[in-house]
Symmetry: C2
């Protein structure tokens, strides 16, 4: 599903590691019948491996990400040191507090804010502090690593807050100085660029979703409309 942040994670890893792949987007409200063959619970992302015996498929974004990192070690994304790797995984888990609060605002709008906005900020404090203590532009050091990519889908989507909330929410420049600098760098990362959508586009999809319209083909339809103009 083109707008799914978990599927986005898989794309980022595939692109960061230059792994050739073919993408099939799914309509998640009217799922194709074959979907459960590759994804038993009908979720995305699912990664089918046609070169492996039996044409197996993997599910769960973090399991897919770690599999790709182990199978294609040329461009490593997780730290080699088991402790540093485990610490990055814990931070990925702890980012769940941010993502769940973000979706409260995305779907609930102003009614969910400011409670949910406070939750987002409190969750992000941990990551601001972490970037500060690491003293590097990215969580992964001089270039993005797995932690950077695993949290990016929601950071990219945070840009829609100013389109979804009446008071044009933006991140506090004092409180989140490091994270803002990180975000500006991430937007220019080659793997991020491949799959990047701006805040306005994400907001357009989300606004439709709030009305229970799942406009999965929005990008394709918008492009068609432009071509016929």
């Amino acid at each position: 599903m083109r707008f799914c942040p978990y599927a986005h994670r898989a794309h980022l890893v595939l692109d960061a590691k230059n792994i050739p792949h073919h993408t099939i987007y799914i309509n998640l409200t009217e799922k194709p019948e074959w979907l459960t063959e590759v994804s038993p619970l009908g979720k995305v992302p699912a990664l089918q491996l046609p070169k492996e015996e039996g044409n197996p498929s993997l599910i769960e974004s973090l399991i897919i990400a770690e599999y790709l990192d182990e199978k294609y070690p040329e461009i490593p994304l997780f730290p080699k040191d088991p402790l540093k790797k485990a610490q990055d995984k814990i931070l990925i888990e702890r980012f769940n507090a941010v993502t769940s609060a973000m979706y409260k605002v995305f779907l609930g709008g102003s009614e969910a804010a400011p409670g949910a906005l406070t939750e987002i900020s409190t969750g992000l404090d941990i990551f601001e502090k972490e970037l500060n203590s690491r003293g590097t532009p990215y969580f992964g050091g001089d270039k993005p690593g797995m932690l950077d990519y695993m949290i990016w889908p929601w950071c990219e989507r945070s840009a829609m807050l100013k389109y979804l909330l009446p008071d044009k929410y933006e991140m506090d420049k004092e409180r989140f100085g490091k994270l803002i600098a990180w975000r500006d760098l991430m937007i220019n990362d080659p793997a991020v660029k491949v799959f990047y959508l701006d805040g306005e586009t994400h907001a357009k999809f989300m606004k439709a979703r709030r009305e229970n319209v799942h406009d999965y083909n929005m990008l394709v339809n918008d492009a068609k409309r432009q071509r016929t103009c």
Copy 2:
């Protein structure tokens, strides 16, 4: 917490890999103040690493398990092959359907059954089928691997069903032949034995918990009572 199935996972890995460690049990309803220093969300298990610089701690049972497997590779528990490893991780994730249904019965008793019992059986069908297709006594092959240990805490606790339900629930011998044989082998595994409690003991803790009594020191108190008799 002595009766926590997630903490149980960490113990199984430590014992299976013969890693020297010291255990501190936690009262989870009256948490010690220092707990958030090692476990920011106040959860168990938490693994403190006094030999590492800065005395860091890890949380989340699966992250701890994989860290230990990478840091102490002498007795490997996950398959070496990235695909097989990812497939085992997916099965560990899918076991969550069984654990959540089990806790419905553990805490909700007869009122939750038979709906939840059906959920348990449907969830276990996947694992019966998997053992059958692997054709080995354990999921890990000729000895238990990470998948065996990660699902074991709930399998051990399933023995309390016959003490918690009036109709003395037992697993269908036809439907779950492989899993029953596996369970009988697992009970005799050295790492399982170290931390093993029988169904009656688990049931005693759970019955108290249903009455909102969290008898974390039950084993210690029972032992004291026996000594003074």
